[in-house]
Symmetry: C2
């Protein structure tokens, strides 16, 4: 089947490249590759895009609207951050100069916060997508992932946000530390909840309990799935302890991959916080459609 | 110069192999290699030892007394743990069977604790060495390293102990996480102290502040040496918060490499805790000499 894209939306993160062939607001095709920003040098971005979506383009140049680390300093082209407080997408996406006549590539700017110093690239598009579908929504958005973000939303603006390296810590500890010998692939919800409750009420326990996952295996043959759930629970419990000013007494929207968003929704429910889970991919797409509309308004 | 060892003492950890040619309690030669337990399979241990110290042996078999991960399940030969409370070296080192006629190899047993589950291999020898030099000493011993141990010592026994993965977390975060781009090789004592005070009083801040080391670089060009000291301070502050039941109101002996032990002594001094720093290598050697004496008593 031949695909002819009116425009192309792209989610280009550190470890992934996802693209959708669009006809207005409709997706007509999708494609993914692992050509994330982390694997590419400056000159590799355009070929990686051609390889993935070249077939979707005709003779006229096609608009590409991208978000994520593609706009970082180590990305294709550095796009300056917008400072909070601000609407999540205050500026028209910036055009990358000097691309071939195949594409006109635009990148959504990330957000920055002066104090405490913090940055995001990609999540602002998901927040914009969520707000485009839920205009006037006030509350807190949690975006779990490698670097989980918590954002306070009021009057359509991102008021403040904070990043937690919870996902990266989980990956490093479960695959690159001594704990890797004792961590399985499965899950144990009770073990998760117990560990989360412990570090949420006593965050210093994280440091005290981590090695117990290894010792419990050596001495008692602890179930590795239980160990995995306990590690996740300890890390998320510590995060929730530190993010309390964000979620306490708020309504929370959790935007992310199904399984991970579900874990956060359940964790928040245990604290009496009502939370809804939303698909990260759908919010990214809604945000890229909103970004594309600002281009059309401009031209 | 020809070296003839009466016996050989060996510190065989995950990442290193250190050996001393001994004449009674005197060191007559020393040698090191990076043939740590982590690089070796079962059949590699004896050749690694021959390669390092074969020149020290004559025609008669030489006693080798070793401590550390060499006695772990993944080591040369698994030596069962002794359970606390116990003197640090309650049993005669165990002889490894089936070695060549070049050596008679003995390994010091590690210690285990049932609840909370914990284990050590190697540190018990340093503790035994310290107590052999300081008989009757009561207090708390801190052994900072990849996996920092805190041990409560009373009446010549290890009453309880606890492991913190502080060193491994520092290594992973500074070399394998996104923070690696923002971490230098230097040091800033004020930045260390400030970060340590922050997480010692508010341990949940660790999760909240880690990514700030990256964002502070991206937005403000934060000094990478300052970032390194802050990362260390945050991690050690969290450890000290969790280890408070160990050090509060106690005299503390810190056994470890010079620079690291000095950091812990200064950190404890800020909490009003008197601490002395001792060389890890010297304590290991004193412990191995003590272990050797139990062999002589036996034969």
């Amino acid at each position: 089947m031949t695909v002819n894209a009116e425009w192309i939306s792209v989610d280009w993160g550190t470890s992934h490249l996802r693209a959708w062939a669009m006809d207005g607001t409709e997706v007509v095709a999708r494609a993914t590759s692992d050509n994330g920003m982390g694997q590419l040098s400056k000159d590799d971005f355009e070929p990686a895009l051609v390889e993935l979506v070249g077939d979707w383009c005709g003779s006229a140049p096609v608009d590409v609207v991208a978000c994520g680390m593609v706009g970082a300093r180590q990305g294709w082209f550095e796009v300056p951050y917008a400072a909070v407080p601000t609407t999540p997408m205050p500026k028209t996406p910036m055009r990358i100069p000097d691309t071939t006549d195949r594409f006109r590539v635009f990148v959504v700017p990330g957000l920055k916060q002066a104090k405490p110093a913090d940055v995001m690239r990609g999540e602002e598009t998901q927040i914009a997508g969520f707000l485009s579908l839920n205009p006037g929504w006030d509350g807190v958005i949690c975006l779990p992932g490698t670097h989980t973000k918590w954002a306070h939303i009021s009057a359509d603006e991102v008021v403040s946000f904070q990043t937690f390296m919870t996902g990266e810590l989980f990956n490093l500890l479960s695959t690159a530390s001594v704990l890797r010998h004792s961590i399985g692939d499965g899950w144990d919800q009770d073990a998760f909840a117990e560990a989360m409750d412990e570090t949420l009420s006593r965050p210093e326990r994280l440091a005290a309990r981590l090695f117990g996952l290894r010792a419990g295996d050596l001495l008692d043959g602890q179930d590795p799935d239980r160990a995995r759930a306990r590690l996740s629970g300890m890390l998320i419990g510590t995060e929730l302890a530190a993010a309390r000013p964000y979620w306490l007494g708020q309504q929370v929207a959790v935007i992310g991959a199904d399984a991970l968003a579900g874990i956060y929704v359940q964790a928040l429910a245990r604290q009496g916080v009502p939370a809804q889970a939303l698909s990260g991919t759908e919010m990214t797409l809604a945000g890229l459609i909103a970004a594309r509309m600002t281009l059309e308004t401009q031209t």
